[in-house]
Each structure stands twice: as C-alpha cells, then as structure tokens.
C-alpha cells in the first residue's frame, strides 16, 4: 500500500511538472518595440524549445533554453508591423503578440513634385507630396511637421508647414513671376529632399504690332513679345498675322526671332491687319494708303 502511494505521488509529481512547464508562467516580452532596437524575451519553465517571431514583415527563429532570457540584438527585428511570438516546447505552445513601430527619427523622404516645368504666375500650379520613412524604410505614421520651401532665382521664398497624417503630407505652391529654375525643398527633422521646377514665360500679353509701307507692300513687325509678368516669350513661339480684305483672308504664321516677329505682305487698301499668338489676340490696324 505504501509503495503504491509513493508511485501515485511520483506520477502526480511528474504530471504536475509537465503542467508547470506548460503553464508555469508565460513569456515575458515587450508589447511594443521600436524598429531595429534590441529587446529580450524571458521564457518560462525548463527544457528546450523553439521561439518563432513571425509576421508579414519578418520571420525569425531561436532555439532556446526555457527559463532563460532570449536576447535579440539591435537590428534583428526592424520591419514595422504586428508579430506573433510563438514559443514551442515538446508539449506546449505559447503565443504572444508584439508590435514593432517605426523608428521616431526620419531618415528618408519620398518627395514628388509636379510638374517639373510650368508657366510663371500660376496659382497653386505646383504640388508636392512626401512620405516620411525611417532608416529601415518603415513609413513613420506619427504626425510630424514637414517644411516645404519653393525658392526662385531672385531669392523669393514661399514656405508652408504641413503636419503629416499617416506618414504623408502635401502642399501646393504658386509658380512665381520670374522665369528660371526654382528649388523646391521638403524638410523633416533635418532630412531634406530637393526637386527642381522650371518656370517658363506664360502666354504673350499686350501683343502689339506696327505697320509700315515697304514699296508696294506692308511690313508688319511686333514689339518685343513678353508675358504679363514681363518675361520674354521664347523664340520659336508662333505669331499669326492675318490680313482681311474684300471678303478674303490671308494668314501667315511666323516664329519669334530675337523676341520679335515680322513679315512683309501685299498691301490692299482698306485691309484689316491683326496679330495673335494662339488664343491671345493683339491689336488691329486698318490699312489706308
């Protein structure tokens, strides 16, 4: 009877030991870590086990001695996301959750500025959008201010501060009055990214021509063609001269050369002469000998 009792107690002790291994405490691990930082997981019980860290961002495995602390060096787990820590022993499996959040310090900006070239003087003509990433290319979803600056060659600066939402920020800028190459900079916590935006003259403004007799013909010549901000319209821009007389119409397209366009046409008494560039109309002259 005594021997039987000892055997029963012994069996009970062994069974309890297994239960203790399986349920004697739980893994102790941080609920949240910053991407790339070191951390440790305290395992319960005794014996050997395998520790898996799995998620869509990474998959890790460590062979562990239960009861020991498992160290993960800096840089081991660096992709932000939700992970499961799975401890698997001979007779038990325990699972805990672990969130890896992006590092708080920005390291990379994805900055897209559009367009790369546009006419001067357009309201909200330039757009910029940034996504902010940490050193491990995790999108930093915590709000942070982004500084957008558009500088023209004359030193005029437009500045906007926009706070990110879910790692993204956007802005709009006016193209400036001065043609040339502008610098468009996005800056976050000392990290900056620069894009170049070319600003070209706008449509001709105040297009004006003069007419002079040239023998039996008429010589038409424009004043220097400029946009509404005084920028010279580039050579090659087509200027259209039209002569209307007695129900007939004659049209000549002439590119700008050295800032002006000129043409010599047949003279018809009473003809109406006009000048245009695209949809921009210039002055009219009635030709009377």
């Amino acid at each position: 009877m005594k021997v039987r009792c000892v055997l029963v107690l012994g069996g009970l002790f062994i069974a309890m030991s297994h239960i203790a291994l399986a349920t004697g405490g739980r893994m102790s691990l941080p609920k949240t870590i910053e991407a790339g930082s070191s951390f440790s997981i305290q395992t319960p019980g005794r014996g050997n086990a395998a520790l898996f860290i799995i998620g869509t961002g990474q998959a890790l495995k460590r062979d562990v001695q239960l009861g020991q602390t498992v160290f993960f060096a800096a840089g081991s787990l660096y992709n932000a996301g939700h992970y499961l820590a799975i401890l698997e022993g001979d007779s038990f499996t325990e699972t805990e959750s672990l969130d890896v959040v992006p590092a708080s310090k920005p390291s990379n900006l994805s900055f897209l500025a559009k367009p790369s070239r546009l006419p001067v003087g357009l309201h909200a003509g330039i757009t910029g959008a940034v996504y902010v990433f940490d050193a491990y290319r995790n999108l930093i979803s915590e709000a942070m201010p982004v500084s957008f600056e558009l500088s023209d060659p004359m030193g005029t600066v437009q500045k906007r501060i926009v706070v990110t939402r879910y790692g993204a920020a956007r802005t709009e800028m006016d193209s400036t009055a001065q043609q040339g190459v502008d610098s468009f900079v996005a800056r976050v916590a000392g990290i900056k990214s620069t894009r170049v935006v070319g600003q070209v003259p706008g449509d001709p403004c105040g297009l004006k021509m003069n007419a002079e007799p040239s023998g039996q013909r008429i010589h038409l010549v424009t004043d220097a063609v400029r946009d509404c901000n005084g920028n010279a319209v580039p050579d090659g821009t087509i200027i259209t001269f039209t002569e209307t007389f007695s129900g007939y119409q004659s049209t000549i397209d002439e590119p700008l050369k050295h800032g002006i366009a000129q043409v010599t046409i047949s003279a018809h008494n009473g003809a109406v002469l006009s000048v245009a560039s695209g949809v921009v109309m210039g002055n009219q002259i009635r030709w009377e000998k």
Binding site: T32, F52, I54, G55, T56, G57, Q58, A59, L60, K61, N79, A80, G81, H82, L84, I86, E88, T93, T95, S97, D99, V100, V101, P102, L112, K114, T127, G128, A129, Y131, R137, N138, L139, S141, R165, Y166, G167, A168, R170, E172
Partner: protein, 165 residues
C-alpha cells in the same frame, strides 16, 4: 460624399464575395483632409486591387514563392515580403494567412494622383507550419497602412505595413 462610399462599400462586398477568402469588407467614409478629390471609380479600383493583393500575399507566404507577389506588390512592400519568404524558407517554415474582415478607410490621395494611402483594420487567421505541419493557429486583429501606386492596368501595393491599433 457618403453615398458614393456606401455604393463603394456594396460593390466591394460583392467583389469580395467572389474571392475564395470570403472576407467581409467595410469601407468607412473617406478621410482625405485637404487632398485632391478622389473619383469614386478610382477609389473603388484601388480598394479592389488592394483586397486582391491579400490573395497573392496568402499564396506567396504559404508556398514560399516570392514570384507570386509580382502582380500585386512593388517596391519596398514587395522587397519586404520577399525577404520574409526567404527567411521562412531558410527556417523550413511557412505561414498561412486567411483574411476574415477588412475595415478600410482612404486617408491620402496625392495631388498628382500617383499614390493612394489607406488604412485597414483587418481580422485574419494565421497558421505557422513547420515542414507542412501546423504548429499553431491564431486569430489576429491588426491595423495596416497601405500605399498604392498605379501600374499599367491596376493599382499595386508599394507600402504594406502593420501599425499599432
């Protein structure tokens, strides 16, 4: 603005029903503060393509085949998932993800129209398989931030990142 998204919600639920995963989909009203207006058709297409990407993700992580990601993932999202698949292969494990429910919200549409960002409060089951044997199965609630960019004929996932709920 709510009505289009209710329609969108219904459309996506219908699209989801045809998928093997049978995930339920809920779309919250847009939260595109100050962003470029998003056409209903564009939003619907982006969300549809994102939901489809879960099928590619599931197949790729289960079969440990990074090539299955190519139609749906690009850039860092593709690189990260491919690296995970490589790690799983080296460890002799695979994972099976089964998305059960998505709660989507559009949060950013870039002004030039070249990226859409959304959040997804997703419910999924995940199984860890070691040499084909299921070691554990868990139900997970997680929040993802997704950035989609347009490709030739569809939106592809460029950022796919879990965040704290």
């Amino acid at each position: 603005m709510l009505r289009p998204f209710l329609i969108l919600c219904a459309a996506l639920t219908g699209a989801s029903a045809s998928m093997p995963a049978q995930a339920t989909v809920r779309v919250e009203g847009d939260n595109l503060q100050g962003s470029r207006p998003l056409q209903e058709q564009t939003g619907r297409a982006a969300m549809h393509d994102y939901l489809q990407s879960w099928q590619a993700l599931t197949a790729a992580l289960e079969q440990n085949r990074a090539d299955l990601l190519d139609p749906d993932f690009v850039g860092s999202a593709r690189d990260t998932l491919a690296a995970t698949i490589q790690q799983q292969t080296e460890l002799g494990i695979s994972t099976h993800y089964h998305d059960r429910a998505h709660d989507l919200q559009l949060v950013f549409y870039s002004p030039e129209g070249l990226s859409i960002e959304l959040t997804d409060n997703v419910e999924y089951d995940v199984q860890l398989l070691d040499h084909g044997r299921v070691k554990t199965a868990q139900h997970v609630s997680a929040r993802y931030v997704i950035v989609l960019t347009p490709a030739e004929v569809r939106w592809r996932v460029r950022v796919f990142q879990g965040t704290k709920r």
